[in-house]
Symmetry: C2
Subunit: 174 residues, 2 copies
DNA sequence: CTCATGGACGTTATACTATAACGTTTGAGG
DNA sequence: CCTCAAACGTTATAGTATAACGTCCATGAG
């Protein structure tokens, strides 16, 4: 039962580095698979990586419009579909929002920890947990094809700073 | 590791009994908590229990309209909110749909198995699994408030009848 | 080089899901 | 009876996602 490293980003971390790492990984993933990471797709991936809070499609759309280019819902949804297909982003079902994948290119089953206070969402890839879930389903004769595991609550940082009740910039970037 | 009973309903089961059991349990839950299970709320609960497939709010709305009564979205959404609050139904986030709770009145953490072939959704209440998830989150300093665990795939019945690929009446009742 | 092909994207319209806001009814308790 | 709050009716609107069709352009076969 090895102690895992905290999947939440630290408060003062160099987020530009998160973004550039994600973009570089995306280039490589697409390179390998022969897919085209067009400027638009790359831009949408940047927007998803704008923070560690899941972001809604229409919020991205507003930012795209701000770029001076024209943009309509299909613009962003098509890019999102592509990025989801490449495993470069994940969709958070309980928020109707999207977040960058922390382990692009790696085969992984994912669980999300979503802080209701600060909105930050961390991606776990707890194999033991994934196995336990698979085993439980298999015991009932069920063959899992896809999983949605989204745990909402409060991260350690928010609990430390607000021992009782939380508010502030909560939730999805709008 | 006791063998659990299959949470999926059998194909020829007496579903009227599912419905009447659910309604009786609802009466009791509301009785106990002093809430009012009005005719409308009761009707919506019946509609949710129309099958073991999650059903969308607007599908219920159509059925309500068919009753001869007038009905608008808030009609059904208010009833759903009430039933969710009472723990009589669950929302399936990945389908934007609702399904009856198999264990109303009991304190439980829930996992859903959603058959992509037949649409039937089963509710697990695997305490071991729930504990494992709680432990994993706790290891990362995360305090879980609510959980969304939705596993999509194929149930044993559908796998038996369609060894390769599935279609038919798949998915949410529309 | 030319043209057929298919992918990416622009554009418009529409479907689907959910809530805000306000007025009316209803029923329990005083 | 009267009052009050909950439940409900009604209209409008917000928020999320996709259908359908046309254009552009890179690629590669001929
Ligand atoms: Zn970062
Ligand atoms: Zn937090
Ligand atoms: Zn049944
Ligand atoms: Zn099935």
């Amino acid at each position: 039962m090895a102690k895992r490293q905290n999947p939440f980003p630290r408060s003062g971390h160099d987020h530009d580095r998160c973004v550039s790492t994600a973009l570089a990984a995306a280039e490589e993933v697409c390179e390998r698979s022969g897919e085209r990471l067009t400027p638009l797709r790359r831009r949408v991936l940047e927007l998803v990586w704008g923070s560690h809070k899941p972001i809604g499609a229409y919020a991205m759309l507003d930012q795209l419009k701000g770029d001076g280019k024209s943009a309509a819902p299909p613009t962003v949804y098509r890019a999102l579909e592509f990025l989801l297909g490449c495993g470069l982003i994940h969709r958070i079902e309980s928020l109707n929002a999207y977040v960058g994948c922390s382990h692009p290119g790696e085969n992984h089953v994912t669980q999300f920890l979503i802080c209701k206070a600060c909105g930050t969402t961390a991606e776990l890839d707890d194999r033991r947990l994934g196995d336990a879930i698979g085993r439980s389903a298999a015991e009932h004769g069920f063959n899992i094809v896809s999983r949605v595991i989204e745990l909402s609550g409060t991260c350690s940082r928010c609990r430390a700073s607000q021992p009782r009740e939380g508010q502030s910039d909560k939730g999805v970037a709008v």
